[in-house]
């Protein structure tokens, strides 16, 4: 355990639980048929149900239920065969019905686990529950001097609230948890995990305690932090604030706090005394959700391979290191790309090219693998050409750069650049003869024992052949001729 806050009175550790709101990937809202497209004009994705019109009734989106169950299975969690939707009552202008339909004491998914691969080893983080609920709308305050505008496009959008146990012990673990959860959701296709567009949002519950203590002290909830990095920074800041408060003799009040990323600080939003009494009760407009065993079993049977399993397989089947496997499985599309490249080739070399070369380019360009300028097929072809000695590793790198630049396929680039390696002995021998004739002194020195001159000779041959000579062949021929 690496994250310790050194205080004046001693060492402190942080206790973190995360609540993630993940937008369910589904075409319709949780209780209405309205669409959920991101970026649509204000109030264009709103049904009478979402707008809370009189007499309108919610009808549960069956696919959203399926997605929640799938997610539960992916989190190795208990699927509750009976769950109940409840109303969470409060007034706000972005909440048309005056209540949010959520799940309270009977969520659809119970306890589960997420495994984190930390540098110190793997850590099992408990999942407390997953429940389905509606999102609220959005208030726009900056369009008018005295009025606020209401956009209900998001009102009623299906969310999964995924609550962890307070098992996380560092900002790094919190970050790893979010990345892992995101990967699992994306593998399952139940949430696109896009934090910028708000389809994955995170609240962090943070408290601290002296190292060695097992008590749970008063926590603060930091609301709606919209990137993994900010979550980590907010936790770090909040934990240190708690330590300062305790060490100066103060007490932490249970409250909700907002993270200000510009100032890297949290500030109070509302205290426990000001907290709403939500008056939860079962929604009488909806029947309890009853799942039959076959339905759950069927979803379980058809689950895709998830990151943990894929990583294990990559290590076993391809002989990759844990680190490389981890990097490759973090995104489903990356893993898919790698497997396309590795198929029928040296997997380690494939992994090397994907991780060291391709990911570098993608990072620099700020694009994902789906927008990669080099397709898996072309990268594979490049590796094949190295393997059959058509091109050298150096030429391959040159070709790769050109492929990134132009987006052209491997063979075109090789032809255009004339990158074919010389593997005929004739031209190489001719070049060697010429170099030996012109450098008789160096030949003499070599023959009298200065063997480190071999590198110089190779360099000269490469220069003479514009780098096209096969280096291995070149070395062999030089050795033979110099020994004569």
């Amino acid at each position: 355990m690496s994250y310790i806050i050194k205080g004046q009175t001693g060492d402190w550790e942080v206790v973190i639980g995360l609540e993630v709101h993940a937008q369910v990937t589904t075409k319709a809202k949780l209780f209405s048929g309205a669409p959920t497209d991101f970026g649509a004009g204000p109030n264009t994705q709103v049904s009478f149900i979402d707008a809370g019109m009189p007499g309108m009734l919610p009808v549960l989106n069956a696919f959203a239920v399926e997605q929640a169950v799938k997610t539960g299975l992916g989190l190795k969690a208990k699927i509750n065969r009976r769950s109940v939707f409840a109303r969470k009552n409060y007034f706000y202008a972005d909440l048309p019905q005056g209540y949010q339909i959520s799940q309270y004491d009977q969520p659809i998914v119970g306890e589960g686990t997420i495994i984190l691969d930390m540098p110190e080893g793997s850590r099992n983080i408990g999942i407390e529950r997953l429940h389905l609920e509606q999102d609220a709308g959005k208030l726009v305050h900056d369009m008018h001097a005295t009025k606020s505008f209401v956009d209900l496009n998001r009102a009623g959008v299906a969310l999964m609230e995924i609550v962890s146990k307070p098992d996380l012990r560092s900002p790094e673990e919190a970050g790893a948890y979010l990345r892992k959860l995101r990967a699992i959701l994306r593998y399952l296709g139940t949430c696109d995990g896009n934090m910028e567009e708000g389809s994955m949002r995170c609240d962090a519950n943070v408290s601290v305690r002296p190292v060695g203590s097992t008590e749970l002290r008063t926590r603060c909830e930091i609301k709606n932090v919209n990137s993994v990095r900010f979550v980590m920074m907010a936790i770090d800041h909040e934990a240190k604030r708690h330590v300062e408060v305790y060490e100066s003799g103060g007490a932490i009040q249970q409250e909700t706090r907002l993270y200000d990323s510009a100032r890297n600080e949290t500030r109070s939003m509302r205290s426990k005394e000001m907290a709403h009494d939500y008056r939860y009760f079962p929604d009488p407009d909806l029947l309890p959700v009853e799942l039959d065993e076959a339905f759950v079993a069927d979803l379980e049977k058809n689950l895709p391979e998830l990151p943990d399993d894929k990583k294990a397989r990559f290590q076993k089947a391809y002989g990759l290191t844990a680190y490389d496997a981890d990097v490759l499985v973090s995104e489903k599309e990356n893993a898919l790309y790698f497997e396309d490249v590795a198929k029928g080739r040296d997997p380690k070399q494939a992994a090397n090219w994907v991780i060291s070369n391709l990911f570098g380019v993608l990072n620099k360009q700020g694009v994902g693998i789906l927008e990669s300028p080099v397709s898996a097929k072309n990268l594979g072809r490049l590796i094949d050409l190295i393997a059959d000695s058509t091109i050298s590793g150096r030429q391959a790198k040159e070709a790769f750069e050109a492929m990134v630049e132009s987006g052209k396929d491997t063979d075109t680039i090789i032809a255009e650049k004339g990158l074919k390696q010389i593997t005929d002995t004739g031209p190489i021998e001719a070049a060697i003869d010429q170099i030996m004739a012109a450098n008789a002194d160096k030949v003499e020195q070599y023959r009298s024992g200065k063997e480190q001159l071999m590198g110089w000779f190779v360099g000269q041959v490469m220069k003479a052949t514009q780098g096209k000579a096969n280096p291995a062949l070149c070395g062999d021929l030089l050795k033979k001729k110099l020994a004569q």
């Binding site: 009478f48 707008a51 019109m53 009189p54 309108m56 019905q97 209540y99 008056r279 407009d285």
Partner: protein, 487 residues
Amino acid sequence: MSELTSLTIAEARSRLKRKEFSALELTEAHLSAMERARHLNAYITETADLARERAKESDKRLAAGEGRPMEGIPLGIKDLFCTEGVQTTAASRILEGFSPPYESTVSQKLRDAGTVMLGKLNLDEFAMGSANITSAFGPVKNPWTPQGRKAELVPGGSSGGSAAATAAHLCMGATGTDTGGSIRQPASFCGLVGVKPTYGRCSRWGVVAFASSLDQAGPITRNVRDAAIMLKAMCGYDAKDSTSANLAVPDFEAVLGQGVKGLRIGIPKEYRPDGLNAEVNALWNQGIDWLEKAGATIVDISLPHTQYALPTYYIVAPAEASSNLARYDGVRFGLRVPGKSLDDMYAKTRATGFGAEVKRRIMIGTYVLSAGYYDAYYVKAQKVRALIMRDFNEAFEKVDAILTPTAPSAAFGINDKIDTITMYLNDVFTVPASLAGIPGASVPAGYTTEGLPLGLQVLTKRWDEETLFRVCQSLEDAAGFKGLGPL
């Protein structure tokens, strides 16, 4: 013209088919009756032009021999049903000017059956009341008046406009909604048949919600056959209401005439408390006698948790209402009273828009759902509700139907000062069936000494409206009740 308003739905149906008169003539007769009887305040909105338009359409269909099951029958629609392009108020100021862009499933089904909507009927605000005196549009008057004294009576509630209009022949029948007795009790007060079907029989989609787990639409008519005809047109599965039952709709009319021979009728002792109104008690005994004479077997039964039904109802219904009515916040539709802040706007809008009874129930409901009280009130009430359901389930193992009075009294005066608890006690006999979700109907069976109508209530097990109609018709036949003629 008054001859046309005196017809039953069944009669008008066959005579329209025989083209003895047109749907437009039938509608015009009712429109002029409505005009003459505006003092009853039964309608909040009259939709004369729309009615004529639809009647003409009906005439076209009738002429082409393409009449639908209720083609050309003029009805009133309780102003709790959203009607496309027609102001829908729930008798509340807070919905002032609200004209829904959609039609409730029930009123749509009635349109699809060929009926003609005459207008939107008055009710207690948000259907909360038992006397139709809480309407923001003023009280409705019962067309019945007592003999020997001058008094204006309430029509009962909350479907008071529906009952008054049907009794006064201002429509041939009307939709009502029943949450704790709001169809049955006004039917009893106005000498009509009122049927609350099984919860889930009629779609709640597009009906302004009061208490979602209890609200159920049904017909108010002048006889049992008309109720059977109208209910068939109103009910049926609706995928837009998750609590709607996916069951075939029986032909309720087909069972009429089958009588009650061999049926076992339960008489629950808990419905005969000390101090039960003597006239009501006598009428109940009379009803028992009629059914026995018609060949039914009378069985004494017990529904032991009956005494807890009313307090249970006054926890469950307000709890749901407090949440259902949260959407009336001035943000999107209806009344908005500006305020200094969002919270101030909410407070002012709701203070102005809601009447006293609605506020009372919102406060009760908010209280019973609050942290620290939820278990003691709401959870306990749900448990008692389950016991009340069990009472009925056990009873229906022994009997086919249950006979009780509908209300503890006949209609009372509009100006009578009645305290809240006494007012709530109006529903003491109707609320248990609402909590159990079973069907119930009120049939006019007799009169008080002042000549005011009294009804008897029939209850059956879930989805057994057919037995309900058989028993109702047997009582109707025996009672020979004579309603009011056209005014």
